[in-house]
């Protein structure tokens, strides 16, 4: 949460929102019961959501979890 470089989970939320009728962050936040600021933090990879929230987001976009979130191992 503190350091963007330490979070290795990237996501496709921005693109998926665009593909789903240009859904706003606020609309997605409403669907998953989060604040718009939290959705923004997840989208910017500043905060890694819990598994439950990750599944909820994937469900909103009707996609498998692994197409919404990707794990990128740290570069050494």
């Amino acid at each position: 949460m503190r350091d963007v470089d330490r979070i290795h989970i990237r996501n496709e939320i921005r693109r998926l929102r665009f593909e789903h009728g240009e859904m706003t962050q606020a609309e997605l936040a409403d669907r998953i019961g989060m604040t718009r600021q939290t959705v923004n933090a997840i989208e910017q990879a500043k905060y890694s959501p819990s598994l439950e929230v990750a599944f909820q987001i994937a469900q909103v976009f009707d996609r498998p979890l692994e197409t919404v979130f990707h794990y990128e191992p740290a570069r050494r």
Partner: protein
């Protein structure tokens, strides 16, 4: 734009820092004037606690009325995590303060100083808690 809980943290931070900042400023003047043993700090403290409760209530109500939907929602997982992290920081602050006061009592410091010292530790811990929340909210915004 700030979330309801970030605004709430700002309100608490400013209210605590303002009201108790005034209290400790008065106390420092009393100590400087050499009246620490005769000053009845309890009266001032009770009045300021009532003032703080009124200020907090009014401002929290104001921000809740401006975002009623968000105010009714429970904190989400990121907000809860921020609260927990901030509380941990406050815990360390209050523990350092308590240990310092224990040492002061053991060394025979007058009750004026130990009582207010302990209260200062609590206030600083609360200010640290709200300030940490604000920093975490800003950093992840």
């Amino acid at each position: 734009m700030m979330s309801f809980r970030e605004k709430s943290a700002w309100v608490s931070l400013l209210a605590y820092a303002g009201v108790y900042g005034y209290y400790f400023w008065v106390l420092s003047s009393v100590i400087a004037a050499g009246q620490a043993t005769t000053f009845r700090f309890g009266d001032l403290l009770v009045r300021l606690m009532v003032l703080l409760a009124i200020v907090e209530l009014a401002l929290q109500l104001l921000i809740a009325l401006r975002a009623p939907r968000e105010a009714k929602l429970p904190a989400d997982e990121r907000e809860r995590l921020i609260t927990l992290k901030a509380t941990r920081i406050a815990f360390h602050v209050v523990m350092i303060g308590a240990a310092t006061i224990c040492a002061a009592i053991a060394l025979g410091a007058p009750s004026f100083y130990t009582t207010n010292g302990l209260f200062l530790a609590i206030v600083v811990a609360e200010v640290a808690r709200y300030a940490s929340q604000v920093v975490y909210f800003r950093r992840d915004a």
